[in-house]
Symmetry: C2
Subunit: 344 residues, 2 copies
């Protein structure tokens, strides 16, 4: 890590007070009300053009910027959509989704704020979010309980949506059931004649939210057949993959679902280095359909995920905000389909 040297600061400088609308009014020689009218383009009142100009110039000169907190305190509500930043490092897929969502909400005149609630957990976090009095809260992952939902609603949030593996009482749910992902992979491997399927379980923290349901999906796909499922704990490191590959023969597996493309590639490479033929001896399937899966040889088969469109989700948020108290809806929003390439 690069060091940032610590050094004592200089003497304190002049701190000019932050200009308020009263300052603008004073400078323009009008009342604060007039300032408010002009700067908000109030349509209910008519202000003469010269006055408008004077106010605008005064504001400009002082570098006046309205105080959002005061405004929303007065208004009794805000247009803030709060989105706790996901604790788990997310991939490019989620990134694109989020960017889209944000710009769509922006067009609907909401302000999207990502709140980093490290350390806090569960309903403690919900309290922290509630203090900001957001009009809507969009919670990715799990971790929000019914208690948390209640806290948020009581503090004025008109829409509480979860975006994750399970429903939460009282909140609208965008259900992303990763069971489907594993199920896809399982069905695919089964159809390919595989019978002894390994499933990679990342050892990295926080990934169980996704890995457990994916595992369950594979189980579900193989249920009622003679095929078996073996859990394969794996850290995201070359050495760990090499160790796993070294005992591959003793595991007797003919297929593996790699949790996602990255773990799948890591393992596939280790298997190849160990002399295991892919896909002949062992089929490998990833998930997420990343570009890099196409760069290895054999090309990695994968489960392609469809996230909801940010636009649709933004509209849903807007609808719920305008119609709060409507029965919470549940939408299945995770599409999954196999992209068959050469590794399976």
């Amino acid at each position: 890590m690069v060091q940032i040297p610590k050094q004592p600061g200089r003497a304190a400088p002049v701190r000019r007070p932050v200009p308020t609308s009263a300052d603008v009014a004073r400078l323009a020689g009008v009342s604060r009300a007039t300032v408010s009218y002009v700067l908000n383009n109030a349509s209910a009142v008519r202000i003469s053009e010269p006055t408008r100009r004077r106010v605008r110039e005064a504001a400009e000169e002082l570098g006046y910027v309205p105080h959002a907190a005061a405004r929303s305190l007065r208004a009794g509500h805000s247009r803030m959509v709060l989105m706790p930043a996901p604790a788990v490092p997310v991939g490019p897929l989620y990134h694109q989704f989020f960017a889209e969502l944000q710009s769509a909400l922006g067009r609907l005149d909401y302000t999207v704020v990502q709140y980093g609630s490290v350390g806090l957990r569960g309903d403690e976090a919900a309290r922290a979010w509630a203090e900001l009095r957001p009009v809507a809260v969009l919670v990715p992952g799990s971790g929000l309980g019914p208690e948390g939902v209640a806290v948020l609603k009581r503090s004025g949030a008109r829409a509480v949506l979860t975006l994750g593996p399970e429903r939460v009482d009282g909140a609208h749910a965008l259900l992303m059931d990763h069971d489907r992902v594993g199920h896809c992979a399982g069905v695919h491997l089964l159809a390919g004649g595989r019978r002894r399927v390994g499933v990679v379980m990342p050892e990295e923290n926080g990934l169980e939210i996704f890995s457990r349901p994916r595992l369950e999906g594979v189980r579900r796909a193989l249920r009622g057949t003679s095929a078996t499922v073996t859990e394969l704990p794996l850290a995201y490191e070359e050495e760990a993959a090499a160790r796993l590959a070294a005992r591959w023969g003793s595991l007797g597996l003919d297929a593996v679902f790699g949790y996602n493309d990255e773990y799948a590639m890591l393992l596939m490479r280790a298997l190849q280095d160990e002399g295991v033929a892919v896909p002949e001896q062992t089929a490998v399937v990833g998930a997420d359909d990343l570009m890099l899966g196409r760069l290895l040889r054999p090309r990695l088969s994968t489960v392609h995920l469809d996230l909801p469109s940010g636009r649709d989700l933004a509209e849903l948020v807007d609808r719920v905000v305008r119609e709060p108290g409507a029965e919470p809806e549940t939408h299945e929003v995770l599409g999954a389909r196999v992209v068959h390439r050469a590794s399976s």
Copy 2:
């Protein structure tokens, strides 16, 4: 994309007003002042234990959550550190850095908020940020001008730091000069006897901020030698890479710096598919030192980046907040070193 069906909502429900500290006071049979004392553990006044309990119970029963905006309006300042979300999709490197920074700031009792300012640009964005009256603003990338810095400071921000390729007047700068990255790669290739160096320039939007300085770094490394630099525009798609590889012979290059590991891998794969031997005919070097660079064969040589530690940066922010007006400091915080593997 998965469709979210549009449907009309139900009738509006009862909307209970959000409980305030006055409600708590009423229920507990005390004054609002007492409520404030109790809930903030004010040390200056002594409140009897029975009263404390009554207040706590009342707050609990009502589900009272304090109103952050009102509080900071009254206090005249906040503990909010605002960080505009980077417009460009960022990698796992930045993610880890950000998580660390956030948790370090959290420990110093700051609230980190990521603000998505899509659409807005430059000083328009700065105004939007200023409305939130953050105590500190941490701006990644470029896009903030001296005007923007002034707006933020005038509206009470005690620390404005930029985190990017260039200094901005009035702001503290964590300089991440990507020139170094290219320079590293250039020196390395030169030392390996390469003389005709291609540099991948991603065609994706927003990446010029990084790609131009990296290119310049390569140029700088080769200056004064007989070696030449060739720009290679490339979209992040297999077909584009294949097209580039197809005309590789006519380019007459014996080395390529791939902008980062992902582009480098994309191109390396295309070159191999085209029958170009790596590293014999063409050396390939990436940057970022991603895990996946170790999975291809030959293993990808890369430039490893050192971002500043989140802890150090958090301390810097805290120091500047407490000592505003100190002369803006500039720190070089991007470390870069070559990791020599098999592709060069």
